[in-house]
């Protein structure tokens, strides 16, 4: 049973990995800093650990999908992220892919294609 639980957790993580990218890109049409983004995602029902989100933001920035800026006008510096034009194009394509996948998966899971 322990193996089953571990496998389920592993599969759940794999399933969420792509979804998190889509969610982050979707929310970053307005500039947001890391912790604020975690809160916004949690408020929408998607809980992401700090150890996953912060490295992801950095990775997306390196891939050119996000752009960032340090705000030094406040009491301490804070890094704000926003989707880049490349990220916007990727998001549009990902969103279409997601909607198509959801429709297909709904059909599969609800048994429309079962014989």
């Amino acid at each position: 049973m322990v193996d089953g639980v571990d496998t389920l957790e592993q599969l759940r993580l794999e399933l969420r990995r792509g979804i998190v990218v889509l969610a982050v890109l979707s929310l970053l049409d307005s500039a947001s800093y890391g912790y604020n983004l975690i809160q916004r995602l949690a408020a929408l029902g998607l809980n992401i650990e700090e150890g996953s989100l912060y490295p992801l933001l950095r990775r997306l920035e390196k891939q050119g999908l996000l752009q960032s800026e340090w705000d030094t006008t406040e009491s301490r510096p804070r890094k704000y992220y926003r989707i880049s034009p490349t990220g916007q194009a990727v998001l549009t394509a990902l969103r279409a892919e997601w909607e198509e996948t959801v429709a297909v998966m709904r059909g599969i899971l609800e048994g429309e294609h079962h014989e």
Binding site: Y33, G34, Y35, N36, Q39, E49, E50, G51, S52, Y54, P55, R58, R59, R76, P77, R78, K79
Partner: protein
């Protein structure tokens, strides 16, 4: 307040790439402070800071997430590495023990068999570890050199261009694996022989024991042909095919290697044998034996490789027609 945060960030910084360290540390500090302020205000206690840091997770895990997936040898080269190791790891100690025993028979000095057995086991362990290290090092260098392996292969793959079942350009992974394993072992041994100035079966730089002098220039030739053959085989394994040029080069390297084998091993060992056991040379015509063995080797290599060379040439002619 921030001392615990400093310790956490320092630990993360130890495990991330040096060129990204400053930036990641600054990001982390800002993110930790955002969370602390939101949850506990401007003056959190040590316990509250610890609670937030616990949520960020183990520093090494956090650093690993920043580094992404990293390989010493990636998934494309891994099967080839395992092929070479699967063949080499049992082969290397067996060859070393056998060579040590043969060496003891040829040695002009009497042998203590118990010490010899113990010495051969120690040498076999050393040789196996060295072989393992060198093979992994070669693959790690390959992993980091040139174009990333495996990238773009999906786009370039054309099922209509799949090789025929009896394709002469096909690479036999087992054959190349054995070639790489033996080549690596021979290369290491030659480097050692160059260092001690001749052949010996005691792999100990400080005390190489009884050294049989051999021509250094031929040791160098043998080393170059061995290294050349290793890289040609690796090239074929990675590109999954032999070309007319690479197989011709492999053939030439093998022929030159066989000649080198004569000067570096066959002739010196036979001379030693006739000195150690003079009666043997009186009863058998040993003088011609090294030349004969070398000739047979060259003929076998030429015939074996030649047939494939002809098929590769015909294959190319057919493709060009």
């Amino acid at each position: 307040m921030s001392e615990l945060i400093d310790r956490y960030i320092h630990q993360v910084g130890l495990y991330v790439r040096p060129r990204e360290r400053t930036e990641i540390e600054a990001e982390l500090r800002s993110q930790i402070q955002d969370q602390l302020e939101d949850r506990y205000g401007s003056s959190p206690t040590q316990t509250e800071i610890a609670a937030v840091l616990k949520q960020f997770g183990d520093p090494r895990s956090m650093a690993a997430s920043y580094s992404g997936e990293q390989y010493l040898v990636g998934p494309t080269l891994y099967p080839f590495l395992m092929t070479v190791l699967r063949i080499g790891l049992p082969l290397v100690p067996a060859v070393i023990v056998l060579a040590t025993l043969v060496g003891a028979v040829l040695s002009p000095v009497g042998s203590n068999w118990a010490a010899l057995l113990l010495g051969s086991i120690v040498t076999a362990v050393q040789g196996t570890l060295l072989f393992l290290a060198i093979v992994v090092l070669i693959f790690a260098i390959l992993e980091r050199s040139g174009e990333p392996f495996g990238e773009g292969t999906k786009a370039a793959f054309n099922p209509l261009e799949l090789p025929a079942v009896d394709d002469p350009a096909a690479v036999d992974r087992l054959e190349s694996g054995i070639g790489l394993a033996i080549g690596t072992l021979i290369g290491v041994a030659i480097l050692y022989f160059l260092q001690v100035g001749g052949l010996t079966l005691r792999f100990n730089l400080a005390d190489p024991g009884d050294v049989l002098p051999v021509p250094t220039e031929w040791l160098v030739v043998l080393l170059l042909t061995t290294l050349g053959s290793i890289f040609v085989n690796l090239w074929a394994l990675i590109h999954r095919r032999w070309t007319l040029e690479t197989w011709l080069l492999e053939t030439v390297l093998n022929v030159v290697g066989a000649v080198g084998f004569y000067f570096v091993l066959l002739r010196p060992v036979l001379e030693r044998l006739t000195q150690t056991v003079p009666a043997l040379s009186e009863r058998l015509p040993l003088d011609q034996l090294p030349s004969l063995i070398t000739l047979v080797m060259v003929v076998l290599i030429t015939l074996g490789s030649g047939s494939r060379l002809i098929r590769l040439w015909q294959h190319r002619q057919g493709a060009n027609a």
